[in-house]
């Protein structure tokens, strides 16, 4: 795949912004917020295969260790 991707420096900015945004939300609203964010980002990606691939990447990362969540 040769689709353009976000430069790493910008990915770092996203990381920081997400961390502070999560901190400003009640913990109980985290997954609600992240699910909305996933849909909002997916809307901006014109290729559905890319979105499905991202979902699979996140699923694999989330199940690295089934019995323990951070």
């Amino acid at each position: 795949m040769t689709a353009p991707t976000l430069p790493f420096a910008d990915l770092e900015r996203v990381y920081e912004r997400l961390a502070t945004t999560l901190d400003a939300l009640p913990e109980a609203d985290e997954s609600h917020f992240l699910a909305q964010l996933a849909l909002a980002l997916a809307h901006r990606v014109p290729d559905v295969d890319q979105v499905m691939a991202a979902i699979e990447e996140a699923r694999q990362g989330a199940t690295l260790d089934q019995d323990d969540r951070a």
């Binding site: 770092e12 990381y15 990447e57 323990d68």
Partner: protein
């Protein structure tokens, strides 16, 4: 701290030297005027003394202790620092005893998710990093200093007061045999993070403290695991603690582990707590089954704190007295050594009369600039190593989990190890020649290149400024030769280093495979002017001989 029943200097592997008190002439009532006094015989203070001695300047080093540091503390020495130690002629014991390394591994939930490698090639004399306990670092530097006629070490000498006058500094020194006043032209304050000199002068560090607290513990353990940096996040054994493991010489292993926000500090540093956690880490995280012994431990908190100005008249702060940085990325010692070299050569040039006192004005902007750059990086790595909040912890773990299968996320797991700072904004650095497409820019340090078996470019630097001159056959234009002769005749310590494509006379360095010309983006006629601390001050794609003197004057703080 050490286990019960063992004194601070009762080590499993290191024989602590005892440095006797020697009565100085001042105590016999003799008036002595020292050119430079250095307070603190740690790695930074003694490096400054060696740098001054390299340029022919005498100094006296005072320390209240009678031996070296109580523990291993700063253990990672960067390549840039090794190149500095080479200039001081003291690199051999460091490379003989130290353990070189160039890679590391990151683990998340007991899985290896990422390996990083630091830039390394056969063009380099030194590995990117060497691990060596601070006691050895200090001992090797002190051995070298004691062999110098220009360095006087005064042990068991506590500085209890400081007064600055227009033309010098006076210290009050307390010794086992009484007090005396020590007079000097300039003072280097290398008395560490809790600097008494800083306090006496009414100065304080500014910046921020981070949430994370770490125990750093040394154990003796036989293991075949190679010398690498290992970082463990969210291990099953200690899910809330980030853990770092480093190998040191003499079968000593450094284990750093994070303390939880609610942990009681006093209890956390009790021997029983240390043994319990360290044992868990050795067995369940490092998966080592051999017997181990506890050597030493200490408590560490991450800070980014610095003085607003590193120079106060005739006092220059070097090392931890000027700045405290987080350990992640190993910048504390390495930046302290760079401070020592920077302050050392500048002071030497002023005292030799080869530069106006204005040269010293560049010390603080250059080295404080390096500190602020460290802060920018260290903030990121500290928030990664020790997430300060739920949001940062969530993002950190998400990035690590993605990094297991996806390269795009592995950059987050990169430890951002120390890299030498480029003095691009310094008043001493001249504008770049836009004709260059490669090579170190003005402000950056010279890069090394292999010339042959056990022979590298940086082995050939002069003690002072070096003009690296590129040509076809080693010949130097008569006008340039004239300019060099004239500068040298006026006392400038300036060495001409000629690089040629084809062999000429014996003093020419031959670029056998073209990598030297290529690495420096040079063509015949190109030249680099480097300072005594190896940083490039100017470069020319085609050197006009009349430009050399102007560049040298400007880089020495002149008009």
């Amino acid at each position: 701290m050490r286990p019960a029943g063992r004194s601070e200097t009762d080590s499993l592997y290191f024989d602590y030297p005892h440095f006797p008190f020697v009565r100085p002439p001042e105590l016999a009532g003799q008036a002595v005027r020292h050119r430079v006094a250095i307070v603190g015989a740690g790695p930074v203070g003694v490096t400054a003394a060696l740098e001054l001695a390299r340029h022919g300047i005498a100094s006296v080093v005072l320390d209240d202790k009678a031996t070296v540091n109580d523990g291993s503390r700063a253990i990672c020495i960067s390549r840039h620092s090794l190149e500095l130690l080479q200039q001081l002629g003291v690199d051999a014991p460091f490379t003989a005893k130290g353990l070189g390394w160039n890679q590391g591994r990151t683990y998340f939930r007991d899985r290896e998710i990422y390996r990083f490698r630091m830039p390394h090639s056969d063009q380099e004399r030194y590995a990117p990093m060497f691990n060596l306990q601070q006691q050895y670092i200090e001992q090797f530097l002190i051995d070298k200093a004691q062999a110098s006629d220009l360095i006087e070490m005064r042990w068991q000498s506590a500085v209890t007061g400081v007064e600055q006058e227009a033309d010098g500094v006076t210290l009050r020194v307390t010794t086992p045999e009484g007090e005396y006043a020590l007079a000097c032209d300039y003072l280097l304050a290398a008395d560490g993070g809790r600097s008494r000199l800083r306090e006496s002068l009414g100065l304080s560090l500014h910046g921020q403290a981070y949430e994370g607290r770490y125990v750093i513990a040394d154990v003796r353990l036989k293991s075949d695991f190679p010398t690498e940096r290992r970082a463990f996040f969210h291990s099953k054994a200690l899910p809330d603690a980030t853990i770092l493991v480093h190998r040191q010489p003499d079968d000593i292993w450094r284990i750093d582990y994070q303390l939880g926000p609610d942990e009681d500090l006093e209890q956390a540093v009790e021997e029983a707590s240390i043994r319990e956690k360290v044992s868990l880490i050795i067995r369940e995280v490092m998966h080592e089954s051999d017997e181990w012994e506890l050597e030493w431990w200490s408590l560490y908190k991450a800070y980014t704190l610095a003085l607003d100005d590193y120079r106060h008249g005739r006092v220059l702060f070097i090392g931890d007295s000027a700045h405290l940085v987080p350990i992640f990325g190993v910048r504390g010692l390495n930046n302290g050594l760079a401070d020592a070299a920077n302050a050392g050569w500048k002071l030497a040039w002023v005292l030799k009369g080869q530069a106006p006192e204005a040269l010293l004005d560049s010390y603080s902007p250059e080295r404080r600039g390096a500190t602020l750059d460290v802060f920018a990086n260290a903030g990121k790595s500290t928030r990664f190593m020790t997430p300060p909040s739920r949001g940062y912890r969530r993002m950190r773990n998400a990035a690590l989990a993605l990094a297991f299968h996806n390269d795009y996320a592995s950059g987050f797991a990169n430890p951002r190890q120390v890299t030498p700072y480029t003095y691009a904004e310094s008043p001493l650095t001249l504008a770049d020649d836009p004709a260059f497409a490669a090579g170190p820019i003005p402000g950056a340090p010279l890069i090394n290149r292999r010339l042959g078996d056990d022979d590298f470019l940086l082995d050939h630097l002069g003690t002072g400024f070096t003009l690296l001159h590129f040509s076809e056959d080693g010949r130097v234009a008569p006008a340039l030769r004239e300019s060099l002769d004239s500068l040298q005749a006026r006392g400038h310590d300036l060495t001409l280093l000629r690089v040629a494509r084809s062999p000429a006379d014996a003093q020419t360095l031959v670029d056998v495979d073209g990598s030297l010309f290529a690495g420096y983006g040079a063509e015949p006629g190109s030249a680099y002017l480097a300072r005594p601390d190896r940083h490039v001050t100017a470069r020319w794609k085609r050197l006009d001989p009349t430009a050399l003197e102007a560049a040298l004057t400007s880089t020495l703080g002149g008009e």
